[in-house]
Every structure is written in C-alpha cells, then in structure tokens.
Amino acid sequence: MNLEQEQELEIGRALQGLPDLAAPPSLLTRTMNALEQPAPWRLWTWTKWPVSVRIAFFVMALAAMAAVVVGWREFEPGLLAAAHRCLAPAASAGKCFWNVLGALAGALALAVEHLGKGFMLACLVAAAGACAVCAGFGTIFVRFALAKPGRSPL
C-alpha cells in the first residue's frame, strides 16, 4: 500500500466515524415559523403571485406604457428642446473630455514611434512589477494587521 492509499484510508476512517452534528435548537422553531408565516405575496416571484394581482399588475403596466407613448407623442417637441437645453453643458464637457483623450492617444502613439517598442515594453513590465510589489506588501500588511495573537500571520 503506497503513502497516498494509506493516507486515504486513515483520513477516510477518521471522517466517516464522525456522527451528525446537533442542529441548533433554533432551526426547528425558525423553519416552522417561516412555514406558518410565509412571506407576503409581494416578495414572491411574479409567477407565484395570486392570479387577480397578476392581472391587475399587467393592466397597470399596460396603462403606464400607454401613458408614456401618448405623453411622448403629445409633448415630444417641447421635451426635446428642454432635454437639449439641459444636456448641452454635459455634452460640451463630454466633447472636451473626448478631445483630451484623443490628444493623449496621439501623444502615446508618437512616444511609441520615437522611443521604440522595447522601451515601452520595459515600461509596461516595470508598471506590472510595481503593481505586484504593491499587492504583495498590501497582502502582508493585511495578514499582519488581522493575525490572531500567537499565530504566525504568514
């Protein structure tokens, strides 16, 4: 018998000899309470709602959709103008941001062209290394900070 089989046998014997754990006394009470006081229907999935409520909900949803469609047709010109007025500053800021991104991308392309791919690759490797070092130190810090007294944190 090799080591692995021997180990399997030993551990198997130890684990299979375990009796059931005692369930907490609260399990019986809370389960029976949950059965006696089921959650209100509004917390059930839609398919389990009472039929009358499902029909009412469906009719209300249709009415709401109709209201939106009719409202849109009635007020569309005014709404569009108002939306344009409201969104103009945000659109301007977005355009500005887009221009900045474009300029940065252009600068990056120029840098790659002039500095060479090898240099840029080395920069990327250095950045990845820095990230790995930060993650490593961060992990060690968390382990030390949260370690139980008297137990090795590593």
Binding site: Q7, A14, L18, D20, L21, A22, P24, L27, L28
Partner: protein, 184 residues
C-alpha cells in the same frame, strides 16, 4: 396527524443530518442554519411527494449539498480573499462542537474528544481543500463527480484532496492512528 405535524416530525428526524452536511461544507453555523432552513422549506413545497418516501433522506442530503455549493460559489468572488485570511468565523474554530446525542450512552469520552478534534481540524482547512475532501469522504462522491460539481479539473480535485489529507494528518498527528470507532 396533520401535515404540519408530519412535517415537523420529518424535520426533527433529519435536521441533524441536513445541518451536518451544510456545516461541514460551509464551516459556519449561521450559514449552515440558513441553508438547512432553505432545504426544509423546499422539502415542504414538495411534501406531498416526499412524505412517506424512503428516499427522502437522500433527497434532503442532495439539496443540502447543492444549496451549500451554490452558497459557496455565490460568495466566493466577494469573500474568498478575506475569509481565507481572516478565518474568524465565530462558529468556525472557536465554537464548541456539539454532536447529536449518541445512541450508546457509554461511548467513551476519548472517542468524542477525538471527533471534536477532527471537526475542528476540518473547519480550519481552507475552503478549496475542505469542500472536495468532505464530498469525497463524507458524501461518497467520486473524483470525477466532484470535479463536475465544482466546475474544476480532475487534477485540481485530486491535488486539493491530497493537500487536505496532508493538512489533517499534520493537525491530528498520531491520534489519527487510534481507533475511531466507539467501543461497544
């Protein structure tokens, strides 16, 4: 006997088994209790089919395993990093372990003590090792079944189980050689 009374009897008969199954997989009393409650609520929904069925125990165990694994996979991404570091589940390594009342009242206390040690050691294992080990040894699942259930490779299952056994051996040491069966 009413349905509610019959169901309560079923709950009393199987609550330890369902709780143990969930507890050994999730290693947290509160979570195991939530899972056990969910198992029994599902059983109640199908009580018409389950009442009187001799396979009810197997059904409950399967649902308990599936719900425990769902629970673990749902919270894996969010909590695995800190849970592995912290290992501070109040019900985990520090909580007192209470077994269901033994049939033989003269069971030796040494056996009970050794069982407590095994339970403690099991709870202290990292989840990635504990879950396949429990499924293999306590739920009698094959390596292939475990790999399919956990969505990992066969090699990983074997490695994790091997490491889990190694860790248990280290923790339990020479006591592992003792006889684990209660003496009559």
């Amino acid at each position: 006997m009413t349905d509610a009374q019959q169901f309560e009897m079923l709950l009393r008969n199987y609550q330890n088994m369902v709780f143990s199954t969930a507890m050994r997989l999730v290693a947290s009393t509160a979570e195991a209790e939530d899972i056990s409650q969910e198992v029994f609520l599902r059983a109640f929904e199908r009580f018409d089919e389950l009442a009187g069925d001799p396979r009810v125990g197997g059904w409950l165990k399967t649902v308990a395993i599936n719900l425990s694994l769902n629970h673990l996979s749902r919270y894996r991404a969010r909590w695995s990093f800190f849970s592995e570091i912290l290992h501070r589940d109040p019900a985990g390594e520090e909580a007192e372990i209470e077994f269901a009342a033994p049939n033989d009242v003269e069971e030796e206390s040494a056996v009970a003590e050794r069982r407590c040690m095994v339970e403690q050691a099991l709870r202290q294992l990292p989840r990635a090792q504990r879950v396949p080990l429990v499924l293999f040894h306590l739920e009698d699942m094959k390596y292939e079944e475990i790999a399919a259930k956990l969505g990992v490779t066969l090699g990983k299952v074997k490695t994790d189980i091997f490491r889990a056994r190694e860790a248990l051996r280290k923790k339990l040491g020479p006591r592992l050689q003792d006889d684990w069966r209660p003496r009559a």
